[in-house]
């Protein structure tokens, strides 16, 4: 919902409010002590996230309702890149004894337009007994993994971790039954995740 004091649609560079009046949300930046829009969208106010903060959060949001623009998948435009701390869904593309290479195709709740390459290193597979982790018995190419981004990584890879109860392989296709069972044994949280 847009406030009466704001324009219905803000364009990049348009000043919206003095810096002191709101906390900065998404799609805004500061210029000349004023909060300005960075994207084309509707200015909106939301309640402060912490109790100690009294100021409302001012964001400029691109409407993501279906039919807001001619193309599908418009929602992906708000959060386009994996960031540290994001939960992602990734498909395992290749494995070796030290790491599994994956392609990230969902960041948070949005499906990416392009696949981002990431790796899960041996020491990031689980929180305990890190030295006993065997990549070959944890992942297989084709598995879908829920993981967390722990670093932007190097030039081409995001570094991911599955060291949490809520993370790990969520979809696996078995060629041989014993291997499938091994995967299940390693990540018992699967049963709840699916």
């Amino acid at each position: 919902m847009s406030m009466p004091e704001f324009p219905e649609i803000a364009t990049p560079g348009q000043p919206l409010a003095p810096v002191a009046s709101y906390t900065l949300g998404t799609g805004v930046h500061i210029f000349n002590d004023r909060i300005c829009a960075s994207v084309v969208g509707q200015p909106s106010l939301s309640a402060p996230t912490t109790k100690s903060e009294s100021k409302q959060i001012l964001s400029v949001l691109r409407p993501s309702q279906s039919g807001s623009s001619g193309k599908q998948g418009d929602v992906a435009l708000t959060n386009l890149l994996p960031q540290v701390g994001n939960n992602v869904l990734a498909r395992v593309t290749r494995i070796n004894p030290r790491q599994a290479t994956v392609g990230i195709f969902v960041v948070g709740d949005t499906v990416c337009n392009d696949e981002f390459q990431g790796i899960i290193r041996q020491q990031d597979v689980r929180a305990t007994e890190k030295d006993k982790v065997k990549i070959f018995s944890s992942f297989r190419p084709g598995d879908i993994v829920r993981a967390q981004v722990i670093s932007l990584g190097d030039q081409s890879n995001y570094y991911l971790s599955t060291a949490s109860n809520s993370l790990g392989v969520v979809v696996a296709h078995s060629g041989r039954v014993p291997l499938h069972l091994d995967v299940l044994a390693t990540f018992c949280c699967l049963l709840t995740a699916l």
């Binding site: 219905e8 560079g13 000043p15 994207v39 084309v40 039919g67 807001s68 623009s69 435009l77």
Partner: protein, 311 residues
């Protein structure tokens, strides 16, 4: 005896095909020096691109008159190729291409030539300052501009003064690309609009152009190569109206700077900025248009209880 091994020409000969001549571009009705042409700018017209726009100048154009037509499409932010080095910012690449049919009388090649490369670099410089590249680490934003029609051709500088066709193309490309970037939802600090101004010497009505005392050149905003008159010098700017910043300046021709006791450079820059500021108003409305349409449609959906207009 006829040769059976090859395809022989007709024995009685043929006459060469005569094509109808290309009609010469009509002269546009004269404009006041500070009158701008109307612009058509629309976004989201290229479905596979993240953001896109189309620009036409002037609009509506009388049939047979030269027009400038550009499309811009923006892809990204998307992951960089594995060979690229780590970059904490987004890498912006702009590529301007003339369609083979964009210039009348002369077909352009498919291979990138020096003019296209030069304009691409200038376009990239004009836009990169407006985009918040730090918000998109390790990714690339690619902008592709295709010039579909460029106002009767780019014949280069001739004796008749400097040629403003390329400058118009660059100014249009900046505006069009900025609209596409905004349409893609890429964070930017401001929109960039392009503007051109020129010092034009017009022959007095009925007089001889080679008269001894030539009329003083006047600043013409948004000059068109089809307008006529001798263009003494010209300038194009990329201008961020919201922050009052010039991101690009390109001048052609002879002009006096302030330290030479003249103010021609200032006059040209001010003229180009005035043009760019006016273009910015069009740009603002164009990038809002899609969202306003979406809002109106979703309101209709709420009120009409599911009955939606088909788009």
């Amino acid at each position: 005896m006829t040769d059976r091994r090859r395809i022989n020409g007709p024995s009685d000969g043929t006459t060469p095909i005569v094509y109808a001549g290309v009609p010469k571009a009509k002269q546009l009705p004269p404009r006041a020096p500070d009158a701008l042409r109307k612009i058509f700018l629309k976004t989201s017209l290229t479905p596979p691109a993240t953001g896109s726009s189309f620009l036409e100048l002037p609009s509506p154009a009388p049939a047979g008159t030269p027009t400038l037509k550009l499309t811009a499409s923006v892809y990204g932010p998307r992951p960089l190729p594995p060979s690229a080095p780590f970059s904490p910012h987004a890498r912006l690449t702009a590529e301007l291409k003339f369609a083979p049919f964009s210039t009348p009388h002369k077909r352009r090649g498919y291979v990138r030539d020096a003019v296209e490369r030069d304009l691409s670099v200038q376009l990239q410089n004009a836009l990169v300052k407006s985009i918040k590249t730090a918000a998109y680490p390790k990714s690339g934003i690619d902008i592709f501009i295709t010039v579909l029609d460029c106002e009767g051709g780019l014949d280069g500088d001739d004796d008749d003064g400097v040629e403003v066709g390329l400058m118009n193309v660059l100014a249009g490309a900046i505006t069009c690309a900025s609209a596409a970037v905004a349409d893609a939802g890429i964070e930017c600090v401001d929109l960039v609009s392009g503007g051109v101004a020129a010092l034009v010497r017009r022959a007095p009505a009925g007089g001889d152009a080679m008269d001894v005392d030539l009329p003083a050149p006047v600043v013409v905003l948004d000059p068109s190569p089809a307008d006529g008159g001798q263009v003494v010098s010209a300038a194009v700017v990329g201008y961020m109206a919201g922050r009052d910043e010039v991101t690009l300046l390109w001048t052609k021709g002879a002009m006096e700077t302030a330290d030479q006791g003249g103010d021609e450079l200032d006059l040209l820059m001010d003229g180009a900025i005035t043009t760019a500021t006016a273009v910015r108003l069009v740009l603002n409305e164009a990038v809002k248009e899609r969202l306003l349409l979406g809002i109106a449609r979703s309101r209709l959906k709420k009120e009409g209880g599911g009955d939606v207009l088909m788009s």
